[in-house]
Amino acid sequence: MKVNRACPCRRHRRLLSLNLGPLLLVGLVFQAFSSSAQTPFISRDPITTILDAFRANAIVAMGEDHGNEQGHLLRVALVRDPRFASTVNDIVVEFGTASYQDVIDRFVGGQTVSDAELRRVWQDTTMPHTVWDRPIYEEFFRVVREVNRSHPRERHLRVLLGDPPIDWTRVRTAEDLAAVNASLYRARHAADLVRTEVLAKARRALLIYGGAHLWRQDLTGVTLVEQIEAGRQGPVFTILTHPFANLRAVVPNVTSWDAPSLTLTRGSVLENQVDAVLYLGPPSAMTHSRLSRALCDDPDYWRMRTQRMALVMNDADQALRKECGNHEFRDVYDRARAR
């Protein structure tokens, strides 16, 4: 087959005869600047990225969407990762009261603690409602205990209970409660705990708190992270979950990402508010932990919880009944975990 190598177009030859190298360069540079919004915010493995973040930060703070099971499974996988215990010393949690620090120390240290004593750790926080009664929080403590069992004592993870102490026998009114569960007061207590138990001892901690406590530049007031950083003892690396921190503010094509994955916000509009965004899947795929049947059938629990809920709502009994009324999600979650 004969190939005609001659250019059929005289104009093309004329264009090619011009010295266009510098011109093309100008065009490419211009294009690079005009697409600055397309900085490659890549999807990263969350566990490796979190562990890497500890190289430069004493504290890595993970936002916890209360009750979200996908977030819980990731935290469990993180704590079980063999690299975790050799990188991190402490885990500071919102879902436990400082009143029982000695109990959780004994529990995660492998000593015998009765179930009745243990559950006061999350049932007796300043939160009057059921938020920490969901089984994922108890399970988290049990996972830490299990991980510690496989390590020598000097490498044991310590769990620090971040919620301020409260004596529920003295709480009679909503005003009594408001004095101890105001967000600012709770954040101040947790920040002091981090400063004295983690930073002052040159330790490293994973902080697990509701996302609202982790924003920087928050319009509603000084957050926990800002309180810790005000001490200038070391920056915190903050991770919030999509859509609490909207991943689309960093990268538009969220749907094509694998879950879980994480991206850094450096260079995006979010960079001064949060350091990384965690993607656990589309909102439609999220499942939430439900109160166990055993807890819902326990009359002592029912009485304790409704008395406390009644301090902040009108029909506490009805609200608890509603929470206890739906168990099919629990079964779906159990099946998913078994796989």
């Binding site: 011009l18 266009l20 005009s34 919004a37 530049q217 928050d218 509603t220 909207n246 689309r248 960079e271």
Partner: protein
């Protein structure tokens, strides 16, 4: 004008054209400081019929200063705001090629599209928190010499909030 120069100009312009440049309005770039603000709220029927014992929400955050960088394809804004005794900074980016962008102010996520209405820049916003809708609104930016005027209309649960903010260009 030589043919070589024409080719240079076309080649340099081509990538920008491919990126969908559609700037028609004025350049809003600069550092702007707020000199006056007016707000008005038209209560919605729902809010006017609501329980009078419901506490009044806290005063909304105030814009203090605005730094704008405008390129052919995008507009970047750094908003300095004050709430109570606290000053915070939020960075926004808007695409000038008609594509949507998402920005965030703490818990509030804002998805926006911009367009030019003659010399005025119109930013159409949808507000949400944790994927729950909080309403929508528009911000219209126009310039007069060293003055930038931002007129905002927001449809919120309390009603329709209108505001007009006048900013002066910093030297």
């Amino acid at each position: 004008m030589s043919r070589g120069f024409m080719v240079t100009a076309v080649l340099a312009w081509l990538p920008a054209a491919a990126a969908g440049v559609s700037q028609i309005g004025p350049d809003l770039s600069g550092s702007w400081r707020v000199s006056e603000t007016e707000d008005s709220v038209t209560p919605s029927p729902v809010s006017s019929a609501s329980d009078p014992s419901t506490p009044t929400p806290p005063a909304p955050p105030r814009l203090i200063a605005l730094a704008i960088t405008q390129t052919p394809t995008e507009l970047r804004m750094s908003r300095t705001m004050r709430t109570g005794d606290r000053t915070v900074l939020y960075n926004f980016v808007y695409r000038l090629d008609g594509n949507e962008t998402t920005n965030q102010m703490g818990l509030i996520s804002i998805t926006s599209r911009v367009s030019w209405n003659g010399p005025k820049l119109v930013v159409s916003n949808v507000y949400s928190a944790h994927d729950r809708s909080l309403g929508e609104g528009t911000d219209t930016y126009s310039t007069e010499r060293l003055t930038l005027i931002v007129e905002s209309i927001r449809k919120a649960p309390i009603g329709v909030v209108r505001s007009r903010t006048v900013l002066t260009k910093a030297p």
